[in-house]
């Protein structure tokens, strides 16, 4: 078994908005091994971006705050590092592709210089060499090197996303967090960008956390999947676990809401109801209000995750044997 590159333990993150407290991430734990690709799936507001930003230690405070938990990256707890130590890691060892490519690039700096910046920050190289490397990065993501001196507004959304990917990968990080890298793009471009990420990841042997709504994408690219609901991971396991031995009622519901052309299903079965209000989470299982198998005790107590098979972890009353 490979050594873990990232270990998140009992991470809890809150946002204060006015008087109410948004519990965005609750007691979240997972382990990621070097070279693995993990798909983090969940509906909007589940706390995926918040988890990613916590790993980057970029939660803006206020309103955000990492209340408790540890994030062990290559043996060091990121929550305890100083800002200057974190700066050495960001962009160099851990990079992030942000959700919205339209706004993630600085409009007054050329795309080339934005790539160069991250090279310069982590390595002493001449201006010329950094420029050449940035051009090479552009070409790697499928943009001609001559467009180095263009500004972001001269690029399409798909090209901007490629530039962001180039920035994230410029220093060959060991962990890449891609936060819905394709949601802002149209379907044909989506496939291209994903293919590119997959290719580069394999080439550079980068560990990946891919955040997405799309279970199909996870099946294509990832080795493992984590299903998030209301700030918790409700099910975690290999693709085989999640896709072929789905256990948590929420995950089962998720698969039910995906159109499946092999079966003759007339209607999709969306999960009834809405996510609970994150400022006022239920006392028991956070999914209990929408769960078809909800039992009495679900509304009253929180269950700890259970390892139902090696590496397959579920947080549900059905799999607690006591």
């Amino acid at each position: 078994m490979a050594e873990p590159i990232l270990e998140v333990r009992n991470l809890t993150v809150e946002y204060t908005s006015g008087k109410s407290i948004v519990q965005a991430v609750n007691n979240l734990s997972f382990t990621l091994e070097r070279g693995e690709a993990l798909g983090l799936v969940g509906e909007t507001g589940a706390g995926k971006t918040t988890t990613a930003l916590s790993i980057m230690q970029l939660i803006t405070s206020p309103p955000g705050r990492i209340k408790s938990g540890e994030i062990i990256f290559e043996g060091r707890d990121l929550t305890k590092l100083s800002q200057s130590e974190l700066r050495k890691l960001r962009g160099e060892k851990i990079s992030m592709i942000f959700q919205d490519p339209m706004t993630a690039l600085n409009p007054v700096i050329t795309v080339g210089d934005q790539i160069c910046e991250v090279i310069h920050l982590h390595e002493k190289v001449s201006r010329l060499e950094a420029t050449q490397r940035a051009k090479k990065m552009l070409e790697m993501v499928g943009i001609p090197g001559e467009r180095y001196s263009d500004y972001p507004h001269q690029f399409s959304g798909g090209m901007k996303q490629r530039v962001i990917i180039a920035i994230a990968l410029a220093r060959n990080p060991s962990l890449l967090i891609a936060d819905e890298p394709t949601t802002a793009l149209d379907v044909t471009i989506q496939a291209q960008v994903l293919e590119m990420i997959e290719r580069i990841i394999k080439e550079l042997k980068t560990t990946l956390i891919l955040i997405t709504h799309d279970l199909g994408v996870v099946a294509d690219i990832c080795d493992k999947a984590a299903i998030m609901y209301a700030g918790e991971i409700v099910e975690y396991g290999t693709l085989d676990h999640i896709y072929n031995h789905t256990m948590h009622p929420y995950s089962i519901g998720l698969f039910g809401s995906i159109p499946n052309f092999n079966e003759d299903v007339r209607r999709l079965k969306p999960i009834k109801g809405l996510m609970p209000d994150p400022t006022n989470l239920p006392k028991g299982c956070s999914f209990c209000l929408r769960c078809p198998d909800c039992q009495d005790r679900c509304t009253k107590e929180k269950f700890s995750p259970v390892e139902v098979a090696p590496g397959h972890i579920v947080r549900c009353v059905k799999y607690i044997n006591d």
């Binding site: 980057m56 970029l58 803006t60 800002q83 974190l86 700066r87 050495k88 890691l89 960001r90 962009g91 160099e92 990079s95 992030m96 942000f98 919205d100 706004t103 993630a104 690039l105 600085n106 409009p107 007054v108 700096i109 050329t110 910046e117 991250v118 920050l121 982590h122 500004y151 507004h153 001269q154 962001i164 920035i167």
Partner: protein, 324 residues
């Protein structure tokens, strides 16, 4: 870019024509005229009539205006009634002082206003921010002339550490510039703060942090350039305001600039000086606006690209409209 500058210069012409027409009309209809002024009460009616004919003051309004504008185009703004010197000379003698005063005021308020605004925005709700915002509220609400008088009373009269009037040594500049620049510093500070607050919330600032960039550079290299457009806009407006404010400062501190020249001229009904002065101020304000517009293009590549390929984008836009 050159075409754009050329176009902007052409656009200054109607503005200046308008200003000249308004000021000329106002002066035309103000009671009292040059003949009374120049000859005094002792002169006879015939003498006055003779002088009016010589000065072409009996011509119809429009003819007089056209004559005046003809002169303006050749750089001849008429003759000062009181000194009999050409108005152009009188104005150009004094103009540098006023420009230096207003320029120094803008520079000072840019230095302090922008710095304070940046610190306030990056440390929102800190003690510094609260102090700075209260200061700026005070700064925009204090009238310039009152501040000038207070400064004189405190620093020149009571403590006697700064001279109360004139501009002969660098020390002399301190009080006029502070009283001129206070309002602008406060205005620029408020604008910088709000503009920066907006920019530091943008996603690309987070991107810069995610690269491992130092906080100082995140602010100076990534945030500030994006916050500059509104700051430049108010700074430009402040320059215009300070040219006007110079009238106040020059009067209070008895400084021989355009402002004082014009105030004195108004008292003496010395219309050519007033007209020329207003035109000159309007002209310099237009020039500043032109510079501001060029600066926009300089700081924002999106604006720059509009100027570089005006033909393509314009025809594309028109085509779309006609098709629709």
């Amino acid at each position: 870019m050159l075409r754009f500058i050329g176009k902007r210069i052409l656009m200054m012409i109607p503005v200046l024509l308008g200003v000249s027409l308004i000021i000329f009309t106002m002066m035309y209809f103000t009671p009292g005229d040059a003949a009374d002024m120049l000859l005094g009460d002792s002169a006879t009616i015939e003498q006055k009539e003779q002088l009016r004919n010589d000065l072409k003051l009996n011509e119809p309004y429009l003819v007089q205006y056209i004559n005046y504008m003809k002169g303006v185009l050749c750089g001849n703004l008429g003759t000062s009634y009181s000194t009999k010197r050409p108005v152009t000379e009188e104005l150009l003698d004094r103009f540098p002082t006023t420009v230096k005063l207003a320029g120094a005021g803008v520079l000072l308020s840019l230095c302090f206003g922008v710095t304070m605004g940046i610190i306030s925005a990056t440390k929102q709700y800190s003690i510094f921010d609260n102090l700075a915002t209260s200061f700026s509220l005070l700064g925009v609400s204090i009238p310039n002339f009152w501040l000038a008088l207070m400064l004189i009373i405190i620093f020149a009269v009571n403590w006697k550490i700064l001279p109360p009037s004139g501009l002969s040594t660098p020390l002399h500049w301190i009080l006029p510039i502070i009283s001129l620049g206070m309002n602008s510093t406060a205005t620029i500070m408020r604008m910088t703060r709000s503009s920066m607050l907006e920019v530091v919330r943008q996603d690309y600032i987070r991107t810069a942090r995610a690269k491992g960039q130092k906080e100082l550079f995140v602010i100076l290299r990534h945030a500030l350039p994006n916050a500059l457009i509104p700051i430049i806009t108010v700074a430009g407006l402040q320059f215009g305001r300070l040219m006007g404010g110079a009238v106040m400062a020059e009067t209070v501190f008895s400084i021989a600039g355009i402002g004082k020249l014009m105030v004195d001229a108004i008292k003496l009904q010395n219309y050519p000086i007033v007209q020329g002065g207003v035109l000159l101020i309007a002209f310099s304000t237009s020039i500043v606006n032109l510079i501001i517009d060029i600066l926009y293009a300089f700081v924002d590549p999106r604006i720059r690209s509009q100027y570089i390929k005006p033909k393509k984008t314009q025809t594309a836009g028109k085509g779309a409209v006609t098709n629709a």
